[in-house]
């Protein structure tokens, strides 16, 4: 309708969003929870306790200098969150088979290259293990840049007529600290818990119409010239708005306050919106199928945790082995996590992951349309 009217579905959605912000339940469940869990995991990752990464250091050079580098790395990283293995023959195969989380390779001829232009160490990464991959890249980079320093010192000594043999020993000082980790790509630490808590909060939103029926406000809404379709659309829109506000808050606070790295903002927002749409779909179906509000709440929360665990919401998006992992990869949590990881810093462009984004929207659209139609028939 024309005129100075806001569409009624938007009015209904706005009312629901306002109520959920006023009650603080949305912020407490879907924002504070994921931020706290994400931060705890980020900190645990940097300390000696908690989850760790196993990184293979593979010496393809085989000189005294390269062996010394391997030993030095093991010593430097001892007692920290990163476990170093020097007994891996084929780093690509080991990373693919997930025997190690990532690898650092000293290339053949590396010692030779030191005097001219040091060849960089190579990191072998698994897209599903973003943080160890980032650590391996960081280690490779640190060793390479120190080798370059040594080369500069050596050539300077030679130019000055000094004996350069005293500086040719590369003894890298490698540090993996909490600060390093927080600058690494750590969106999965926040997105994992967010994906679960968001499902809980959006389920509460999706049950709004059932609650309004019990509390009598739905009758008042229905006594106005508002169609059933508009009422259900408004409610769905409200659920999505709540999910979007919560996920954008988690994204913003973890980035601005905790230094988390998610990737290009536009990509991140598009993926978060798509994930919110998918969860709206599941929440709508649950409300439509459940006979009572407590039943809907039970189903919703069970599915939220099931999806979270199967989809690898805990510990950086690691997937489960075997069949569980295959099933888990179909969850919206896992799909969105993969999209985030693949478009993460240094990753692919968003257009490269369109099938993942499309899958999320398909789940959302199917759920909202089907669930909405069922709910409309039942309540209105």
């Amino acid at each position: 309708m024309a005129g100075p009217h806001t569409p009624v579905s938007v009015v209904i959605a706005g009312k629901d969003l306002r109520r959920s912000l006023k009650s603080r339940s949305l912020v407490l469940t879907a924002v504070v929870g994921p931020l706290a869990l994400g931060l705890i995991m980020a900190l645990a990752f940097g300390g000696s306790a908690g989850p760790s990464a196993t990184i293979a250091v593979v010496d393809r050079d085989g000189t005294a200098t390269s062996r010394a580098i391997v030993d030095a790395l093991r010593e430097e990283l001892r007692g920290g969150p990163v476990r170093v293995r020097a007994d891996v023959p084929d780093p690509e195969e080991a990373v693919d088979a997930e025997r190690v989380d990532a690898a650092v390779v000293i290339p053949p001829g590396w010692t030779e290259s030191l005097s001219a232009s040091p060849e960089p160490l190579r990191a072998v990464r698994n897209p599903d293990r973003a943080i160890p991959g980032e650590i391996a890249t960081s280690i490779a980079g640190q060793v390479t840049s120190q080798a370059d320093l040594v080369r500069a010192a050596t050539s300077t000594a030679a130019a000055l007529g000094a004996d350069p043999s005293g500086v040719t020993q590369v003894r890298p000082v490698v540090t993996v600290s909490v600060r390093d980790l927080s600058q690494a790509f750590n969106a999965p630490l926040y997105f994992g818990p967010l994906s679960i808590f968001l499902f809980l909060a959006m389920g509460t939103g999706a049950r709004g119409l059932v609650r309004e029926q019990k509390e009598g406000t739905l009758d008042r809404i229905r006594s106005t010239p508002t169609s059933a379709r508009t009422i259900v659309a408004g409610s769905s829109l409200g659920v999505m708005a709540q999910g979007l506000v919560a996920s954008l808050l988690v994204y913003a606070v973890s980035t601005l306050l905790f230094g988390a790295e998610w990737g290009r903002p536009v990509d991140v927002v598009v993926i978060l919106v798509s994930f919110v749409a998918a969860i709206s779909g599941f929440a709508a179906i649950i409300v439509a199928l459940a006979r009572t509000e407590p039943q809907a709440e039970g189903w919703n929360n069970a599915l939220a945790f099931l999806f979270g665990i199967l989809g690898g919401a805990f510990f950086g998006g690691a997937s489960l082995p075997g069949l569980l992992g295959a099933v888990g990869s179909l969850t919206p949590n896992s799909i969105a996590m993969r999209a985030l990881v693949e478009t993460g810093p240094g990753g692919q462009a968003l257009v490269e992951v369109w099938p993942l984004v499309l899958a999320l929207w398909a789940m959302g659209a199917a759920g909202v349309v089907l669930g909405g139609a069922m709910l409309r028939r039942r309540l209105l």
Binding site: H5, R220, T224, P225, A228
Partner: protein
Amino acid sequence: MTEQGPRARVVRCEGLRKRYGDRVAVDGVGFAIAEGETYGLLGPNGAGKTTTISMLCGLLHPDEGTIEVGGSPMTTGRCEAKAHLGLVPQDIALYPDLTAKENLSFFGKLQGLDRGELRTRVAEVLELVGLADRAGDRIEGFSGGMKRRCNIAAALLHRPSLLVLDEPTVGVDPQSRAAILDGIDDLRREGMAVLYTTHYMEEAERLCDRIGIIDEGRLVAEGTQPELVAAVGQHPIVRLAAEGDLTTFAGLAADAPQVVRAAASDGRVEVSVLDPTRALAPLIESAEAEGLRISGVEVVQPDLESVFLHLTGKALRD
């Protein structure tokens, strides 16, 4: 010679029927209300008042019957008829965590007011129900009476031609109750048609131009109060509060001279008589002869309560 046309009918319903399983909640109810008229639907709890109203307001689809509000058919979907309607539900239908103003703005937008109208109407309506100074407070902090008043305010924003109130004074202090009834009188004077349900006979007597008496889903009588009293015969009632076999005594008393009818309902017997001064002594004598222990005697002149008793054989409130 002046010719005054009949006032326009704002609502008309006919043959409304609704069943829940085997239970018939509303069984052939029909009435019409003209503009500026207050129509009372009087009946005990469970009589079918709320079910009737729910069908009338397009919340519930009737099994049978037709409804027209403001000249358009009422449906459970979006319809023109709903633009003429203001509903005050039986239970407070407001968001407790939003302020009075936020609640009214929300429902006003749904009723189709634009931004400009909304601002002035919210202020006017809050003023009307005496909540202007509490506009920014959440409903959950309101007293029962204030919630009731705000519940009414939310139905008035769009100046409906029909205001439907479902037992709006239940659980309200006497002062708020008087304010609510006065407010409804004012609205009626402005030409609004009012449908008012209650199980309080005094409210129906005080407020309503016409009254429909509803019991077990049926409209058992309809008219002005004097019409209703006249229709059932103006018989005073002798009310005996007593212990013993009241039902047997009521049966005996019904056959006694002077007695029109008699009915027992918990703890008392109500006997309609032609002349209480002559009927009283023999009644008490025979009650004592039957072994009843009488604890109170009262003579009641006919009112809606007695009309209801006459029509249904039971008390309006028990």
